[in-house]
């Protein structure tokens, strides 16, 4: 039992979870507040990760590498938005899902092995040092509670969650402002907004770029503990982020935070639980992982059917389906 709890906690506070939270915050701006169907958030993350990793490998300092990553994602979002945001919402979904795949396929193209590392990706050690060098904690290990990590790992945990809370604060300010009201107005009815003299296209573009930028930050944090693996940031990642967002509650500021933590903790619970209690003659450990994902899929379906507002979403806000 202790093992299960330990794994759940470990997953809940890992930087990977933090990366999910940030990417889901971006998706929440797209979908929850503006109603944009972005089915390629992983593409924004991968784009940010590439921008950061490649520029660091080329010698850029940390701040510049982050700026380059954000710049690359801004251009990417504008390219996607210009042709699609004047059309009906479904087209954005189609374009984003394919654009995310394009980024992934271009990244793993063997012709670009020099730059992107091809399908092997970029190993974390090539770009991580500029971040770990900033750590004030020095070398060695520290034990806090049940967790005994390298100091550099604690540094990553600290920064990742600090960024999460900064992003949450930023979004809270944004969506409670008149600009946030514009977003929700666009989500509800674009023609009504036009009849009130609002520039719907510009608002959607701003939302697409801003949500994409959160995706880029999430992508950078996602690859910091491991490596840039294009195949690890495909459609699957997008759908996990969607699950996390819907689980927590779309259009709720803290929905992405709660959803991502629950998502990882529940998955760890199912997997380690199955590992511990189901004899390996029935389910091997490779199978328990698959099993955990199946449970995630079923959970997503049940969620959308029975509790569309998520755990903390506003039920009143989702009741009226015009």
């Amino acid at each position: 039992m202790g093992d299960i709890l330990y794994t759940m906690l470990q997953d809940a506070i890992s930087p990977l979870t933090a990366a999910y939270v940030i990417a889901a915050i971006g998706l929440n701006i797209h979908f929850g507040f503006t109603g944009l169907l972005n089915m390629g958030q992983a593409g924004f993350m991968l784009m940010g990760a590439y921008g950061f990793a490649i520029s660091t490998v080329e010698g850029a300092p940390l701040w510049l590498a982050v700026l380059i990553a954000l710049g690359a994602v801004t251009v990417f979002a504008l390219l996607l938005g210009v042709p699609t945001l004047k059309l009906r919402g479904d087209y954005l979904a189609i374009v984003t899902i394919s654009a995310a795949e394009i980024v992934r396929f271009v990244g793993r193209n063997s012709l670009l092995t020099e730059v992107t590392g091809g399908s092997g990706g970029i190993p974390g050690n090539d770009y991580r040092s500029s971040f770990t060098d900033l750590s004030p904690f020095g070398d060695g290990r520290t034990q806090i509670g049940p967790f005994d990590y390298l100091n550099s790992n604690w540094w990553l945990h600290l920064v990742a969650w600090a960024v999460v809370f900064a992003c949450l604060g930023l979004v809270a300010l944004l969506v409670r402002s008149p600009w946030g009201r514009l977003l929700r107005g666009v989500r509800e009815d674009e023609d009504a907004m036009r009849s009130l003299g609002k520039n719907v296209y510009a608002v959607k573009m701003q939302a697409l770029v801003l949500g994409g930028l959160f995706g880029a930050v999430g992508g950078i944090i996602y690859v910091l503990p491991s490596s840039v693996q294009p195949d690890g940031m495909g459609r699957q990642l997008t759908f996990f982020i969607w699950t996390a967002l819907l689980l927590g509650g779309a259009a709720a500021i803290f929905g992405p935070l709660l959803g991502s933590i629950l998502f990882f903790a529940a998955r760890a619970l199912v997997q380690t639980g199955a590992d511990t209690f189901v004899p390996s003659s029935i389910m091997s450990s490779a199978q328990t992982e698959q099993f955990a994902w199946i449970v995630v899929g079923i959970a997503l379906m049940l969620l959308v059917i029975f509790r569309p507002q998520g755990v903390i979403g506003n039920k009143r806000e989702l009741r009226f389906n015009a």
Partner: protein
């Protein structure tokens, strides 16, 4: 016309009722308003519009909206083909015509929600400013705000948020400034006060924190109109403001529209309810098959037998309570057929929802 007496009484304020006890000619006179705006006086409006010819496309003394060569084709069908139309400033103009006459399409065209097929030949100007080839939000910013036949309330937002979205010039709507509350809190306070005022006028104030989706159909109509007024438009275009609104609410909506006119706003509205058209409009434009076929004061246009028969239906003012009619079998059969057709249309409408 005896059926107008019930509509002739103003429901809203005591002052109005006192000013006009009876009479088919709505006397919506508010002396304070008349001082500020001469057109708030019905005799003045009558005098002004009496000088205008009743030919389609006639020039108006002070036109706020001028439309030229607006045509819209859908495949082989010409839905709208208006050569010339002017809308007089400061009065209520009704746009009527049978179903499919192109009224809503015409609305969509001049408010930028649709593009004319006549391309560069199509010209229209609002208050001297050309509005051809502009988008819907630019039209609204220019001061011409519309409502929709099927109300577009923002369901999953509160009534108050709906209202606040109607206000123009909000610095907080710029992304860069939205994070800095002190830069927009003053304007926010202003528009909130204004929204409360309007909501109180439209009897929606106690609903301000409810989601718009929880309002009834009629309340949504009121909300949409109130929201359009947040920008102080110089001209408001109402697309069937009375459709689906119960009679009591109709009375208060009529009052609101007249108040608007008395405050100097130009009103153009599409409506099927002939009582209402006769009751509040100062000028009526009749459209049929995409063209403007008649114009004039309500009485003149409605007295035109051809217009009535061709565009309003021969029985539009038949009193269904008149027993004498029951003796004439052909009339009864005809009325029954009409009622059935209307019912079927209603059902179809509901099915689509």
């Amino acid at each position: 016309m005896p059926e107008q007496t019930d509509l002739g009484q103003e429901p809203q304020s005591g002052a109005e009722a006192a000013a006009s006890p009876t009479g088919p000619d709505r006397a919506h006179v508010d002396t304070a308003a008349v001082e500020a705006n001469p057109l708030a006086d019905p005799t003045e409006r009558k005098r002004l519009m009496g000088t205008v010819d009743t030919t389609p496309g006639v020039a108006k003394p002070d036109a706020v909206l001028k439309v030229d060569n607006v045509r819209r084709d859908f495949g082989g069908i010409t839905a709208v083909n208006v050569d010339h139309l002017e809308v007089q400033r400061g009065i209520i103009t009704a746009l009527i015509g049978p179903n499919g006459a192109g009224k809503t399409t015409f609305f969509n065209l001049i408010t930028g929600f649709d593009k004319p097929s006549s391309g560069r030949d199509a010209k229209w100007s609002f208050d001297g400013r050309s509005l051809g080839r502009t988008n819907a939000s630019a039209v609204a910013k220019a001061g011409m705000v519309r409502t929709f036949q099927l109300t577009k309330s923002l369901s999953r937002m509160t009534v108050m948020d709906n209202m606040l979205l109607g206000a123009p010039q909000q610095p907080g709507e710029r992304l860069a400034l939205s994070l800095l509350r002190p830069l927009w809190s003053k304007r926010e306070g202003e528009i909130r006060g204004k929204a409360e005022e309007l909501l109180a006028r439209f009897k929606l104030l106690e609903k301000k924190d409810d989601y718009a989706g929880s309002l009834s159909g009629g309340q949504r109509k009121l909300l949409e109109m109130a929201r359009a007024l947040m920008s102080d438009p110089r001209m408001i275009m109402l697309d069937e403001p009375m459709a689906g609104v119960n009679p009591a609410l109709t009375q208060s909506l009529l009052g609101h529209i007249q108040t608007l006119r008395d405050e100097g706003t130009t009103v153009l509205f599409v409506e099927h309810d002939m009582h209402m058209v006769r009751h509040i409009s100062d000028w009526v434009v009749v459209m049929a098959e995409g063209k403007v076929v008649a114009e004039g004061p309500a009485d003149t246009v409605m007295a035109d037998k051809a217009v009535i028969d061709a565009y309003l239906g021969a029985h539009h003012d038949t009193d269904l309570g008149d027993d004498a009619l029951l003796e004439d079998d052909s009339v009864v059969a005809e009325l029954e057929a009409e009622a059935e057709a209307a019912e079927a249309a209603e059902k179809e409408k509901e099915g689509q929802r």
